[in-house]
Symmetry: C2
Subunit: 302 residues, 2 copies
């Protein structure tokens, strides 16, 4: 069985690998690092990449924090324990070209005591323009990783992502979803803690190959100013989701996390257009119509 | 004693007056109106002004809604009643020129039954660049209005605004504050319901004269692209406040209000810059340093 230190070390290594891979995929920009410590205990390494050939801004954040759980979170978690340990890697990439999708990944481990320990995380994709073949590729990759660990994971976690990455007040999904899971333990996964740890690492290791492929497919496509404007609108929905619903963001803000690391997920620029309606029959409308739950992307829809 | 219909009619009239006044102050753009009805009961008139000489985008929203209170809000309000009536006027103006401040006003009336009725609202100013003389003018005007009704209102409501318009995770105020009040009743105000209604109307009527003066003072000032960038950053803080903390926004999202009317408060464009720090001694830093609670703006600091 792993220790807290081992899991943190492993996540730190995953951060290194991902940053290296993203720099290669971008081909021009490099990450800048900021080390920070948390007043209540622990700290992290925030790495930001900006103004690249592909990436407009992206962040790959590692943190390992510990301390006392705020009352509000204890209530939300339904626990009595005070002392928590949490470590994880969080990524959000906002690409320059609207044909390249926004991607998010998070893997995390949370521990209150010997009994209360769980893994959480997920990967989801937010294309500004949904390309069915890319969506199918993305979901197939995730399904393959899941299947290496537990045959019901993909179906379960795909549905979970549909429900989680949902902008309720807009009645639309953030993007095409992916997988999402939380509080994963032997009890509810039929896997040992070590296997769950391996699953978590597998997601981390597969992140770059998956995203690099999506970059390769789309980075050279030309785009218009109107398409860039559409990207700014889609990004404003991303902001709405993250600030109104995202539980990682809420957890961070409520545990006095490092603000700039938590809000690195927000885009460099977002626009709100009053009452925006895509033109009938346009690419924008096609994307809008696909922002809903329950689409089976693994069946090729392209 | 006024009826629900009278108060709604009066707020509707205030919306008309304000729109007319803002069109004059802008000098070029005109409002477009959207009438909407709410599934649960009631509706409103949303008016948007865009791409003016002064105003980049602004909204003046009137609504009068009724229906069943969601469980979540009942708990938050600590009430048992189901049926509510709420009417109000809400304004947010995002000017083009960063020297002209963002302004927000809200006046509202809420009724559950004969006993549970209250007025709420406020006016607050969010300058991208704080000009002490303008801040003093703004607060003096608010104090004068307050003093016509109750001598302790300004002090009480100024402090309330400092506490309310506070971006906790940034440990900074949204702007220079103003006044904010909620659940105002005869019990806690020493005024009759009719007097409270008059106070609410007085705020509505004084909105345009106050903002028009601030426009007049600043609209002709030239600005650089760097100053526009600073405006986009200040606007992103505005977005953070509205989506994370603003109770009007939360109430709207949770009662299935009309999304485009609720989120009209969000700016046309907002930028997030990782770890942005104003240059030492710059105008931006001076503003940043004044974003704190407890400044007595009525004492001339200019």
């Amino acid at each position: 069985m792993f220790t807290k230190e081992e899991i943190a070390a492993s996540y730190r290594e995953i951060q290194d690998t991902i940053c290296k891979g993203l720099e290669e995929a971008d081909g021009s920009a490099v990450f800048e690092e900021e080390l920070w410590t948390r007043e209540g205990g622990g700290g992290g390494r925030t790495r930001i990449i900006q103004d690249g050939q592909v990436i407009e801004r992206g962040g790959v954040n590692f943190s390992a924090v510990h301390g006392k759980l705020p009352e509000k979170i204890k209530t939300a978690f339904g626990v009595q324990e005070e002392d928590f340990f949490a470590t994880g890697v969080s990524i959000v990439i906002h690409p320059k070209n609207p044909w390249v999708p926004i991607i998010h990944m998070n893997i995390r481990y949370f521990e209150l005591n010997k009994q209360t320990r769980w893994f959480g995380g997920g990967i989801d994709l937010t294309p500004h323009y949904i390309i069915p073949a890319d969506a199918t590729f993305f979901h197939k990759q995730l399904k393959e990783i899941c299947n290496q660990f537990q045959m019901n994971f993909y179906e379960r976690f795909k549905k979970w992502a549909d429900d989680y990455f949902f902008i309720k007040h807009r009645q639309e999904t953030r993007g095409i979803g992916g997988i999402f899971f939380d509080r994963l333990q032997p009890d509810n996964s039929m896997l040992s803690y070590d296997q769950l740890f391996d699953f978590s690492k597998a997601l981390g290791k597969n992140f770059v190959p998956i995203y690099a492929e999506l970059i390769k497919r789309n980075q050279k496509k030309s785009y218009t100013l109107d398409q860039k404007d559409w990207q700014f609108i889609r990004r404003s929905r991303y902001v709405e989701f993250n600030l109104v619903y995202d539980s990682g963001t809420k957890f961070g803000l409520e545990t006095n996390g490092r603000i700039e690391s938590i809000l690195m997920s927000l885009p460099p620029q977002a626009n709100w257009v009053y009452n925006h309606q895509p033109i009938a029959g346009s690419e924008e409308e096609k994307t809008q119509q696909l922002l809903k739950k329950g689409i089976d992307w693994v069946k090729d829809l392209g």
